[in-house]
């Protein structure tokens, strides 16, 4: 119990230091962009693990809706070349209920990914090359989901300006990031992050021809354990197709005691 308090205290100091750093960014736009991304990442250090449920609503151009529900568990990884591990279990629609996806993310190399197919009782190692493919038929690509590690991108700070509506009174850092990993569907992304809490408020995605493809709005931020920010509402609009996807995160819990064994290939068979 006491050690928990100490960790929380340290984490709070971390958060404070990154806010103090805000006045103190490097001059060079590339260094500044990278420093902002790293500061955002640092605010998340020490979350250990988290669990949450997600409700997804897909809307096509005609306005027809379909829904998805899933549970996601995340394990923080601190290794140099690795990103966080995640386990996603699908609850809805019913024809894929119990299907699970385990991802051991890497920074620049291909992620390790396994899928569990409950009808066959089969665990299958799958190719993670499909980064640009749609996640569950939604407007989110797999790469929009996997860890947003700073090391996956080359960053450039562009400017500071008022945040996108409805947060015009707040200042945002506008940073461009270009994917360094292979097979991305994007040439670049432009990120508006709040200059105070350093959390992203909007991301514009540019396709391989550098045309604006999608815009993601992140709202309903909640702070957990007095430190870790999570946007509970993510709204993606595809400007080309007119399709939209809304993700609503619920029941976030942190430091729930998950360990590596809960993210092992053999744990997939009973994830349900």
């Amino acid at each position: 119990m006491r050690s928990g308090v100490v960790i929380c205290g340290l984490a709070a100091k971390f958060a404070l230091s990154s806010v103090v750093m805000a006045n103190d960014w490097p001059e060079d736009p590339a260094e500044k962009g990278a420093a902002i991304a790293q500061a955002t990442k640092n605010m998340d250090l020490g979350f250990q693990d988290s669990q949450a449920t997600m409700h997804m609503v897909l809307t096509n151009a005609r306005g027809d809706e379909s829904t998805r529900e899933l549970r996601m568990m995340t394990l923080e990884r601190r290794g140099e070349d690795e990103g966080n591990w995640s386990l996603i279990v699908f609850d809805h629609p019913r024809d894929i209920e119990g299907t699970a996806l385990l991802t051991h993310a890497r920074i620049l190399e291909a992620d390790d990914q396994w899928m569990y197919l409950p009808k066959l009782g089969r665990v299958k190692r799958i190719s993670s090359a499909n980064k640009a493919g749609p996640f569950m038929g939604s407007e989110f690509a797999f790469e929009d989901f996997t860890a947003q590690e700073p090391g996956k991108f080359a960053h450039t700070w562009l400017r500071d300006e008022p945040c996108p509506a409805p947060l015009e009174t707040v200042t945002c850092h506008v940073t461009e990031r270009r994917p360094l990993y292979e097979r991305s569907g994007y040439t670049r992304q432009v990120v508006w992050s709040d200059a105070v809490d350093l959390q992203p408020r909007q991301i514009d995605y540019y396709d391989r021809k550098d045309a604006l493809l999608k815009t993601l709005s992140l709202t309903a931020y909640t702070q957990y354990l007095d430190q870790y920010w999570r946007a509970k509402d993510l709204f993606m609009v595809n400007h080309v197709t007119g399709k939209k996807t809304r993700l609503a995160w619920e029941d976030y819990t942190f430091q729930t005691g998950l360990g590596e064994k809960d993210f092992d290939k053999s744990s997939l068979e009973h994830a349900r």
Partner: protein
């Protein structure tokens, strides 16, 4: 709540262990499906008892109780199929009825469950724990629940598992009225065994599986009753010619390997089996490649090419002794998860071929539809697949979930 706790405690008692402090608050969930099936055949059957069209309905319900930390759960899945013509296909099964608990560094499984081993797509050689429920689908992908007690030990050098399989389940076969079926139907009532303990022979399996970077590997050994019967010609009670299943004791060592490099998957399964005074090797392997984002759309196209080999060659009692498989998987990645699978299996010895096409799509939120078709051609009478030569069919399945 007390009811759930009671079941969990029963589960723990079954497991022969004691659940300590971990949160006993449980979550209960019931789900299931009803599936309507229609089969239409293109040709006159070889036996007048066999139908030109067939209707069937399958029911499945799953009751699941999980501890709050989801490290323990209890799952029961009864299954029932009614078939218009084939009394053997009208059958009941417990697909699952098992307790699972993940304790500190040890996974325990007690009850009836499904376990899949292997990596290839066309033929599953290494997969041995569960018996095939052949009346469900002649592709052999459907399995009967297997009674077992298993211990799994995940470590830094892979997962070690041991399975005790105390009761053997016989393969299901179509009756005289079934279609598609063997030209001589199989008579399961006359099934006999090499071992005097018959279905009570205690089978044991062990497996080690691990992954290192791009490589996934599994090594396994099985001692017990072979899941695949030898089929002996004979007569049934009414003196009609039938095939009688003979279950022999086998000893099998297997390996399954997959390497995953970008869009390329390389797969291999091999086994060495001793049975009834002979020993032989079977192997299968191949590649899978996926084109993602076809022509700038969200669609994917996967290609699977595999080869199957049996040391016994022409004498092998399986249709797969020197066969090639070429498959295409087309996923539209739309809201309805529409996908189409097409595969052709060709026998390099006889030039016989078998083509299967499967298309499926979700309907709204709680239903799905699938269309399956099978055609064969060029099959010589000595090939096991000859029985299905005049059984080309199309199958429509509508599934409603609840």
């Amino acid at each position: 709540m007390t009811g759930h706790r009671a079941v969990l405690l029963i589960g723990s008692l079954l497991a022969g262990t004691c659940v300590g402090a971990p949160a006993l608050a449980a979550e209960t969930e019931i789900s299931g499906s009803v599936e309507f099936e229609f089969r239409g055949f293109f040709e006159t059957p070889s036996d007048a008892q066999q139908p030109e069209t067939n209707l069937s309905v399958a029911f499945q319900t799953t009751l699941e109780i999980s501890s709050a930390d989801r490290r323990q759960n209890f799952v029961v899945t009864p299954y029932y199929r009614w078939d218009q013509h084939d009394p053997n296909r009208s059958h009941i099964d417990l697909r699952e009825a098992r307790y699972f608990g993940a304790f500190d560094g040890l996974n325990l499984r007690v009850g009836v469950d499904k376990v899949f081993w292997g990596v290839t797509e066309a033929v599953h050689l290494v997969d041995i724990i569960n018996q095939t429920d052949l009346v469900e689908n002649i592709d052999g992908e459907e399995k009967l629940g297997q009674p077992m007690v298993s211990l799994g030990l995940p470590t830094d050098v892979g997962t070690f598992e041991i399975f005790w399989l105390p009761y053997f389940r016989e393969r299901t076969f179509e009756d005289f009225e079934g279609r598609p079926r063997f030209n001589w139907p199989v008579d399961p009532d006359q099934a006999f065994y090499e071992d005097p303990d018959k279905e009570r022979h205690q089978d044991i399996a062990v497996r080690w599986s691990h992954y290192i970077g791009e490589f996934d590997i599994g090594l396994a050994h099985f001692e017990g009753t072979g899941r695949e019967p030898l089929l002996i010609p004979g007569l049934d009670a009414k003196a009609r010619p039938v095939l009688i299943p003979f279950y022999v004791q086998i000893s099998q060592t297997s390996i399954d390997l997959q390497a995953t490099f970008g869009s390329w998957l390389y797969k291999f399964e091999g086994l060495s089996r001793e049975e009834y005074g002979q020993s032989y090797v079977q192997a299968t392997g191949g590649i899978e490649y996926s084109f993602y984002g076809l022509f700038g759309t969200a669609q994917d196209l996967g290609i699977v090419a595999e080869y199957v080999w049996d040391e016994r060659d022409e004498l092998a009692p399986t249709p797969y002794n020197n066969d090639g498989f070429l498959g295409l998987r087309w996923a539209l990645n739309d809201e309805q998860s529409t996908s189409v699978l097409a595969g052709v299996l060709a026998d390099f010895n006889t030039d016989a071929w078998l083509l299967r096409v499967e298309a499926e799509r979700r309907l709204g939120e709680m239903a799905s539809i699938s269309l399956e078709a099978q055609f064969s051609g060029n099959v010589p009478p000595e090939d096991i697949l000859y029985s299905f030569e005049d059984d080309d069919f199309i199958q429509l399945r509508l599934t409603r979930y609840y």
